[in-house]
Symmetry: D2
Subunit: 349 residues, 4 copies
């Protein structure tokens, strides 16, 4: 199988850096183009990132001499990963799709558009079919596929097996989100140190709407949203990586704790598909009373799993649990790569 040439839009930001790291030695994708805002154009990645590279490991050798280009069609690749800021992502991604590129986006701009698939491969791989409608509607040679919000991804992964086994009527969720979710420079130290901020702009709206589309059913060329209510309260805490969510759910049918655990632990719809970035276990259930914790568990399955713990009854809805997941890997960069792998496996690429 020939490797697909890929590019990264927004390669200098926190998510862009993670894309560059995760694409090193990728068996299917060959990162050959990186693009960013104008002031970096023409410089090598090494030069640009000298004082901004934020990982323990050095910049991968393969990426050091890549030159940053403009974020506009003309890149020598077939697929672009978009780690662009939502302030500019909208029209740029459209331009690329129009010009024939496949766009696997992490930006929020197109997520809720009816003909844009909002995909978590384990949850709604079949939504990829919207691509055909999208290309037709928009008369595009390429297309856009969106990755959900970082908190949404882990919540939706946790909800999917329960939704299938028991139905879901209501979801209450309070998040405690890591500072890296706001990018870099992002949250000032004076706001996070010894503090909790009970507000993240736009976050509750995303968390209350995106899962309904993701868990919705595709019907030819459109998605019928899932019908249940989500109430989300989002907080920023002093954690580097790993969003924690306290969840309470009302199920459609009676369930026992063991049945819930069983449905979560056996959930593995990508098994056997051979997607390189798919975790062996997309959901890990911890039974210790004080797990998961960001510092111990966010990197489980190389940051691609959702870790669930403290499953127990709720006196108001039916069940409660906490779910934790890496916000920059599965919640952003890793999610867009897994989406692209899915598209390749399904023949869209």
């Amino acid at each position: 199988m020939k490797k697909i040439k890929v590019g990264v839009l927004g390669a200098t930001g926190l998510v862009g850096q993670m894309l560059v790291r995760l694409l090193e030695n990728h068996p299917w994708f060959d990162l050959s183009e990186i693009a960013a805002s104008e002031r970096s154009v023409g410089k090598t990645y090494l030069e640009t990132m000298k004082n901004r590279w934020s990982a323990s490991e050095s910049i991968p050798v393969y990426a050091k001499d890549l030159k940053l280009k403009e974020c506009s069609p003309g890149l020598d690749c077939d697929l672009v990963f978009s780690a662009l800021d939502s302030g500019v992502a909208g029209p740029i991604e459209e331009e690329f799709a129009k010009a024939g590129y496949a766009v696997s986006s992490n930006a929020r701009n197109h997520r809720m558009e009816p003909d844009v698939p909002l995909i978590i491969p384990e949850v709604n791989a079949d939504h990829a079919a919207l691509i055909n409608a999208q290309k037709k509607n928009r008369a595009w040679d390429g297309f856009i596929v969106a990755n959900p919000n970082c908190s949404t991804i882990h919540l939706s992964l946790a909800l999917k097996p329960l939704y299938d086994s028991f139905g879901i009527e209501k979801v209450m969720v309070t998040t405690m989100q890591a500072v890296s979710g706001a990018g870099y420079p992002g949250v000032p130290s004076l706001d996070s140190l010894d503090n909790v901020i009970p507000f993240i702009s736009g976050e509750e709206e995303k968390l209350e709407s995106e899962p309904l589309k993701i868990l919705g059913s595709i019907n030819g060329s459109s998605v019928a949203n899932a019908v249940f209510s989500i109430s989300a309260q989002c907080n920023r805490v002093s954690v580097r990586h790993g969003h924690m969510e306290s969840v309470s759910i009302k199920l459609g049918r009676k369930a026992e704790t063991e049945g819930i655990i069983e449905s979560l632990e056996s959930f593995n719809p990508l098994e056997g598909m051979g997607l390189p970035s798919a975790p062996r276990h997309p959901i890990i259930v911890r039974r210790e009373e004080s797990r998961p914790q960001p510092s111990l568990d966010a990197n489980a399955e190389k940051g691609m799993a959702s870790i669930i713990g403290r499953i127990r009854r709720c006196s108001i809805l039916d069940y409660r649990f906490v779910v934790l997941g890496h916000n920059i890997i599965r919640g952003a960069a890793g999610g867009t790569i897994l989406n692209a792998e899915l598209l390749r496996a399904k023949g869209y690429l």
Copy 2:
């Protein structure tokens, strides 16, 4: 008015230290006795606390030369504040009450006993009447009055005005609690740094039961608990002081946001009573989108207020908000002092 002689049991711990600080120059109480575990008995407070005093201000001059005594009756005072660890508080507090002392306790041991008033002065001052039943039941000359759990106090203060104005049917709460809530040494740095721990032993049980007693109605010699459900999920975060709680409530009657704010802001049942530690405003409503925050707001009203923000509708229950409060002041030491002031004003002391 002659000052009442008081003692502090457990004077060396985090709550005990705060009692010593808050009782400096108290207009009604004269701290004359301090007691702690055996290994400190006989030493001065200054000597004992040399490397353990945990406040910016020095040990108050008045307390430096007080000698630590055993935690057993024989102290020269009429009232004792108990900041004892729950592992030992139960029998010691009983011994003092039996011996004729008034005990204003912060320990959890006796909180839920039917004849022990569990008091927040602004919420259920009338429960003090249980003291008579208690003395009679137990043939004690003294009595025990309990202060609720630190998270319970701020939640209950927030709920009380709403309960009175609109009724309450359901309460979902997710807490993000400060490390000082676990005392000293308490939470190891390796557990709190860059982390969230989704579990605090015993905390959810207290938070789900205590408010129902506190909001209950006294009926002669017993309290009829309030009848609604509370579901609590408790997390430890990397914050020094100040518990934050994300709350969602179902009200008994229809309410508008402005009515809710009005009921919270006008709540001030102690007004005019002249209790020295009572805050001018027990509830402060912040209207900024990202307040309250522990680092900015926990010390409001000298740590004696509950600060509420982000009041907004909930798609599942009716309303959502966050409430923040100082866990060591109003949530512990300051709460027990205010309780004793109430008892004095009501003639129980």
Copy 3:
């Protein structure tokens, strides 16, 4: 004594806010004008600071309705405190001085100019005499007086009594500086959380040069710098307020530990002058083995003192100690106010 009308340039930043807080009810100064960058001009302070006010206490009532003006002469006051960013402070401060205003500056721009006094009132009040030379040299009606760098202030306060009593030949200092030293938004959370950054741009240069001017002797219209060497290594740590410095010094003459402590503790040259912001004790010596600490000691004397601990011999130079001080109060806003008070007392205002 009639109050002097004062203004604050850069009133919206972290140091500007602290000036507004510290000038509330100031007995000598009447804050009547606030100025900031163009985008705030015309708005009230309350409106501008709604989501940026960073203190527990609310915006002082007296300042709420003040309107922000441009940072250019025309303000109705005699003295301006400059909390401007060094990127713009230079020419603006000059413009004010030229127009007849007294400028008490916290910016670094003019600190090392030969006719600008760089003052810590307890250390070199006599340097104020440079004002006359400055006015003459520059044909200005007003003048500029500078406040040293935040780390410099506390180091210089610690060195002064030792310099006078024993002479100083060499100073090695390693700082651990609080994030608030970089202003707001300042240091990103991702840089400070669970981390140390061993570099602060320009800081070592200031710390190695400013103390020599401050400890220098004035000789008519110029200062002869003190002659000793300083080697500084500056680090940023995860602390909100309070710079800690590990210091080692070589003295000019033999000294014993008790003599050193005595010279530090008895140091109080402003005693009896009645300057409103002067701490009762500018230097506090702690004898506990693990003090001072930022969280316990930075606010000593309302943030206006330098706290010294761990005084002990050094096997390479002569003595070692740590010095801690509040970087925003004595190290910035409070320092410029104390400077202005000194000038008033000396008749320059």
Copy 4:
């Protein structure tokens, strides 16, 4: 080559856990015995560590069913790694050595004894020859080899190439040490959060004495200490792993920056020996102005390297730099393993 059977004493602590992790699949050593304090004896490692295992990865499968034994001879192995607390390590290690075991210790108890080699393999592998003297002096069949203090190891690695190339006369060092250096539970959150503690019991003494033995020259059966002065000031900061040290040195001979860098970067005395845990580069020099940083660099070379940055002249001594290293890996568990590998390679095992 047959694998050597090894045991871990103190297997439940922070360093013990790291030993269990690092020994998984070790090519030379076969961990077959684990021992700890009495209350765990008889339980499996899995059972004992359920709520104490502090790593992201799970307990290695190979170790789960090992049963904890008493810390006394009788273990079925030839070599023991001692991660015992210094409160008990002294006599236990002696007992093992007497009974014929090789002991690779991380405890401080025997480090400074004249016939106990205090080894960093890259620095003083030849000191292993003391083993012969030790066995003879003490009439032991086994022996003890000690690993230096965590801050000492990284300082000594940085000093060694400079000592060899230029000589060293004086070393001033100020440390900023991670909380994991104090073990678990170790430093309370209330002490580390938003704080610096300018004192670590016993640390300065170790850092001022151990490098002199390590850099000393072996002369038959004894070590002649290196002759230079070290002055150390030790601070605890809010960092999980990675000790940072600001160092200033006076060299014996003139050196240029490039010569210093060259001597550090070319330092690799273990090259070609094939020790499994030896880093490819024991010293890494970073040229960026704000590196190394604990969060980015402590894990370099799997935590086995010392990372040096900010090499520049010092106005008092000759050169300054910062050195950072992982305190639990190279600074403790990894160090003792590398020591044992060296002994094996040299035929002592």
